[in-house]
Structure formats: C-alpha cells, structure tokens
C-alpha cells in the first residue's frame, strides 16, 4: 500500500469525519474484545500459556541463526526449496521468477500480510501475472483496490452496503437486480466466483503463521479453507513468509497455537490449522508438485540485539489493535502503513524508517491495554517510547511540540513553581468544568479537544493529595 504514515494526523482527522468508517468501527470493536475475554475465561491456564509463549519465542530469537538454518535444511530434505531474501525487492523478484519458470498466468493467494508488506500484487500484475486474493475480505479489497485496514480482519472498515455495492459492480455476469438477503448471500456469491479460480490457478501463494525447524514445516491458520485450497490445488505452492516465524519444534508450535486464536478471534482454535512439509509424495493423490519458501528479512534481522528485538515475538494476532482506543477511533487506514495499531506503530518505523513513520509511535495514549492482552507479552508502550526518544533525538518532532516540551521541562525542574502552577490550573479547570465534569474546549489545546473532551480535574493535584496522605499517615491516621 501507499505509505502515508507521515500524514497520520490528517488521516486521523478525515477518518473521524468518515461516518461509514465510524459505524463499522463502533460495531466491530467491542465484539473482538468480548470474544477474546470469553475464550480466555474458558481456559484457566491461559496466563501461564502466555508466559510460555513468550519464552518459546525468546528462545527461538536468541538462536535464530541456528533454527533458520535447521529449518532450511529440513525443507530441502523434504523436497522443498528455500529462497533467502534480504529485501522486499529480492522477495518480489524471486516470486516472479518462480511464477515465470512455472509458466503461471494466474496465481491464487491466501491471506498474507508479508505479501502486503512487500507490495507483491502490484508487482506481479505489472509483470503479467494476475494475482487473485481468495480470503473473503482480501477478495473484496482487491476488487475495491484498497489495502487491508486490520491484520486479521482486512475488511474491518466496510459495512454491508459496501459489500453489496462492490459485488454488484464487479460481478457483471450476474443479474444486476439480484437481492442479497443477508451476509450469507454475499458470502455464497464470493464462494461461487472463486471456486473456478482455485482450479484455474497455476500457482498458489500463502503466508505462514509458523515455520517449524524440527520438520521443515510451514503452518497456516484459517477459518475459510481458502488457504488450503490455494496450497493444495495448483501445481506450485509458494510460501511467502518472514524469518521471525521460525520456532524449534511441533510442540512449541502447539503451545503458541493455544494463545493465537484465543487472542485473535476468541476461538479456541481456528477451523483449519494446516502443517505443510515439502511437495507431493509418491502415491499422493493431490498436493503441489513444487514447494517453495520465500524467506523475507526486510529489516527484521536488524532488530536482533536492539531494544526492538522483543517485537520479533509478535505472532500477528491483532489483539493489540482490537483493544486500542486510538485504533478504535481512527481505524487501520489512518496509520498509512501495512501494519496498523500498536504492533504496527512499533514495527513500521523499523520497516520504512523513523523519518517516514515517526508519527505512529505518538498515536498512543499509553494506556497499556495492548500489552496487557498481548499473547507473547511484548512491552508495546515501552517500545513506542523508544521510538519517541529516537524521533526527538533526531529532531524529527514538530517544532511546536519541541518548544512545548522544553517549556514543560523548564517548569518541571522548578518543583515549587510547578506545584503552585499545576494546583492553580487544577482549581481553575475544576471551576470551569464543574457543571458537566468535562471541558469541551481549552485555550491553546483546540487540536486536542476537537476530537475529545478534557475531563475536568476533581479535587487537588496528585502532589497535593500525596502530601496530604503522607501527613495523615505520619500523624498515625488511616486513610
């Protein structure tokens, strides 16, 4: 997709003015959180499993070179081919070359965020290979020429009318006045449209949720079954994936699977969890004749050994964005990058540079909800803070903000003045907002209050209350 993270503020403003998007967000958001919570409550061991999931990924990353080489050796042992691609460009070229050698004209695709990240579809199309997205949501986005707005529910931002309108416009072989009674009718139409494409494709591209070093296996997790048809029916299967997906063993994978679907959709497990190892074997009645793995780095190896190494644990469940108050208001497109939400705000500056995406780590209230639901316990707010520091050090922060921060720092280094000033402000604002409990407008903070109300202070400042509590404790009182 077009990288527009630089204009995050403008993107967010127009997203908040977009009534259709706001309707979609208001509907979708609470559902994900509710389903996750229900799934977690059904599994008493969930918290312990999160710790294990974190430890498994940490172990894999601490020995990433060893496990990647073991993985590649085992893929080759089972008749597959591994293509190591340091950059997005290498990866695109490699996939095209595989397609050309296979004589592939059309390529079906299972849902893959790495192929979005490397902009594979546009590249294939420009080079005479037609990609066909088969995940229901990815399919409609391809028809609408839109990028995904969410990493597991790519059409998060659409309403039913959008689906109906797009299908009517695109499926011109069907009667224009047909009636869609419910979502099922829309889904059935997509199923019929795509059925033949699955059989016509010369090559199928999927992503991978995990790569297993022990066996040279790639694992995909889907609910629709499109990923399985994509990797089973065509003559060539290409797995486009990234280096941090490797884990040591099947057992490690199974433990991670227990936290993945529960964190993502609130399912105990996805409908299809499929382990693929190499190409068709003698006697096999089906399956691809060629099995390729395009192993993409694209900046990830540069995170090893830095403060951002912990981000490599991410298993792309989307729990962080599903629980993020910022994502919930602006949606995924405002982030202007392949990966939205908190995990995207940490990852994107690494992939495209802090100059390009420095705005994103600021798109957070630091409420910490994201890390409290992360199945591999990535300290997302801490990592965003690291990016803010780097942005500030490199003088990428807007000047008004730099002056503001310098002013605050001057003030904060003078405790007496700071306490007096904040106390006066608290009393003043408390008086201003004493009727409704919140302030719809504040001097100099129009940009902030345009999108939300400022809660009016109730009572005294933290310092004053803390001091009062201390005095009471010293006097032997109980609070």
């Amino acid at each position: 997709m077009l990288q527009t993270s630089r204009t995050f503020k403008e993107n967010a403003t127009s997203a908040m003015a977009n009534a259709g998007l706001q309707r979609a967000l208001t509907r979708a958001r609470p559902q994900y959180a509710k389903k996750r919570l229900a799934a977690v409550e059904r599994l008493p061991e969930f918290e312990a499993l999160r710790d294990e999931a974190r430890d498994i990924k940490n172990h894999a990353i601490a020995n990433l070179d060893f496990y990647l080489e073991t993985y590649a050796a085992n893929v080759e042992k089972s008749g597959g081919i591994v293509h190591w691609c340091a950059t997005a460009e290498d990866a695109r070229k490699t996939v095209l070359e595989i397609a050309r050698k296979a004589g592939a004209k059309t390529v079906t695709k299972g849902k893959s965020m790495v192929t979005e990240e490397i902009h594979l579809n546009d590249y294939l199309e420009a080079n005479g290979v037609t990609p066909v997205e088969t995940d229901l949501a990815e399919y409609i986005l391809q028809l609408r020429h839109e990028p995904p707005s969410h990493i597991i529910g790519p059409a998060f931002h659409l309403n039913r009318e959008d689906w109906e309108e797009t299908f009517r416009k695109s499926h011109t072989d069907l009667p224009a006045d047909r009636v869609f009674r419910d979502a099922r009718d829309i889904q059935s139409e997509a199923r019929l449209q795509l059925r033949n494409k699955f059989f016509a494709a010369d090559m199928g591209i999927t992503g991978a949720n995990f790569l297993i070093a022990e066996t040279g296996t790639s694992v995909i997790v889907t609910n629709e079954g499109n990923g399985d048809l994509t990797q089973t029916l065509p003559r060539v299967h290409v797995v486009v994936t990234s280096i941090e997906k490797v884990v040591p063993t099947v057992e490690d994978t199974l433990s991670l699977l227990r936290v993945l679907a529960r964190s993502a959709t609130g399912q105990d497990i996805s409908v299809y969890t499929t382990f693929s190892t190499g190409a068709r074997r003698p006697g096999d009645p089906d399956g691809p004749e060629e099995y390729h793995v395009v192993l993409v780095d694209n900046g990830r190896s540069g995170m090893v050994g830095t403060e951002f190494q912990e981000m490599l644990r991410c298993i792309r469940c989307a729990a962080c964005m599903n629980h993020c108050p910022v994502y919930g208001v602006v949606g995924g497109h405002a982030y202007g990058s392949t990966y939205p939400g908190p995990m995207g705000s940490v990852l994107t500056p690494m992939l495209v540079g802090v100059d390009e995406a420095g705005q994103l780590p600021n798109a957070s209230t630091f409420c910490g909800k994201c890390e409290s639901v992360c199945p591999v316990k990535i300290p997302l707010t801490g990592l965003m803070r690291h990016w803010r520091e780097r942005e500030f050090e490199r003088h990428l922060t807007p000047s008004a903000m730099r002056y503001g921060l310098s002013f605050w720092a001057w003030f904060a280094r003078r405790p007496g003045l700071y306490r007096f000033g904040t106390r006066m402000a608290a009393i003043g604002l408390g008086l201003l907002g004493r009727r409704g409990g919140h302030l719809p407008r504040l001097p100099f903070l129009g940009g902030w209050t345009k999108g939300r109300d400022f809660p009016s202070p109730e009572g005294d400042t933290f310092f004053a209350r803390y001091a009062a509590a201390q005095r009471q404790r010293n006097a032997g009182g109980r609070s």
Binding site: W84, E214, T277, D286
Partner: protein, 226 residues
C-alpha cells in the same frame, strides 16, 4: 557453508545482532537435543482424562464448533447413519469416500440407495466421507494427515463433509495426536490438516457465516468398535 548472498546477509546480520559467530558446538548439540526430544510444554487440564471423559468432551467441543456428531456401535452402522443424516438434511445420497482401508471395509453394498464412489473428490461432489487419523478432545479437532488413503481435497471440496473416527482414536491434547503421528508415520506427512468444525467467515460485519470456501457442514461419526 553457502554461497547464497541472501542467506549470508541474513544470517550474518542476525549474528551481528546477537554479538557472536556461529553457535559453539556444545550449544548446537544442546539445541539439537531439544529438537530431538521436542519436549512438551503445559498441556491444559481440559485435554486430559480417561477415555470416556475424552470422548464426551470431544463430542461437546465438536458441537460447540458448529459440527454435528453421532455415536455408532460398529462400522456396519455407518452406511445407515450416513443415509439417514443426508435424508434429514435433504441432500442427495451420493457420497465420495476416501480410499482408506477402514472405509473400504464398510459394507456399503447393504445400503443400495446410497451411491458410493471411492477416490479423490471432484469439484462438484456434494458429500465426502473421510477417515480421521485422530480426534482431539481439547477442542473437538480432527487430525487429517495426507497420503494415498486420505486425499487432502476430500476435506475441502464438498458442501457436506462426513468424518468417521474410532472412539479409541480420540486423544486428549494436540500433543497426543502428534505423538501418534510420530509413532505410526515415518516423518512428517506432506500435509496435516487439523480441522475444527465447518468452514466459516466473519469478514462481513463480524457476522459468523458457515460455509466459506470449505464445507458448510461437518458431521462426525464416532464408532465404538475397536
């Protein structure tokens, strides 16, 4: 070890980040030992218990995941159960059966109204009957490793999927099913599907709809005969 420039760049970069060269031999041996013994981690209590409990929780979980399930005394009861199920769903009694010896031994000829073909599913086949390698109580999951007797497409192409499984093959946890696979199959099969309920999507307004690209319904027949 390799001349591949992409590979050297990636591995080199990782090692620079980890501030070391290739792992020393003793540490490599330790990791190789971990791979060889592939230790289990925490297995939730819901995937443990005696056989009766596991079969019961397997059945509960199949239903929870929008599948249906029926328990049969022996394989001879399978054709009748399939006929009755299809009739109740108003589906033509025409089935494509995976060429698994256990399914081939079923006396389908005794139920002449059922049209039976053994082999790989064609795109238009309405009903497939497969044999499950294992059932997993933890989440009501079927394990389907590929091979001549179990074409992968038979899990995917039909509108109605019927899976036959012996009660004795229902285990507690995913790990137990993979242990069976490790014991009974030499190495990892080309494809291992773990299937939990019929295919579905919630992409349209988060409304769950069954029958996306795979089967719209999944019916599991548990056979007590060992």
């Amino acid at each position: 070890m390799s001349q591949d420039p992409g590979r050297s760049a990636i591995i080199g970069n990782i090692r620079r980040g980890l501030k070391r060269g290739p792992l020393p031999a003793d540490q490599q041996a330790m990791l190789a030992g971990r791979l060889a013994t592939h230790p289990r981690h925490l297995v939730p209590a819901r995937g443990q218990g005696d056989s009766a409990r596991l079969v019961a929780s397997f059945m509960d979980n199949v239903l929870r995941e929008f599948g249906t399930v029926q328990r049969l005394p022996d394989f001879a009861a399978v054709p009748g159960a399939i006929s009755a199920y299809l009739a109740a769903q108003n589906i033509a009694a025409e089935i494509t059966v995976s060429p698994h010896p256990e399914l081939q031994a079923i006396p389908f000829a005794d139920t002449p109204l059922l049209k039976v073909r053994f082999g790989k599913a064609e795109p238009t086949d309405p009903v497939t009957v497969t044999q499950a390698f294992a059932g997993i109580a933890e989440t009501g999951t079927l394990m389907m490793p590929s091979g001549p007797e179990r074409p992968t497409t038979n899990n995917l192409l039909s509108d109605t999927a019927i899976a036959v499984i012996r009660a004795a093959r229902i285990v507690g946890a995913y790990e137990d099913a993979f242990d069976l696979l490790r014991t009974e199959r030499a190495g990892m099969p080309r494809n291992v599907m773990m299937i939990t309920g019929p295919s579905r999507s919630a992409d349209i307004e988060q409304t769950l709809e069954l029958g996306a690209h795979g089967p719209r319904s999944l019916h599991v027949l548990i056979v007590d005969e060992s």
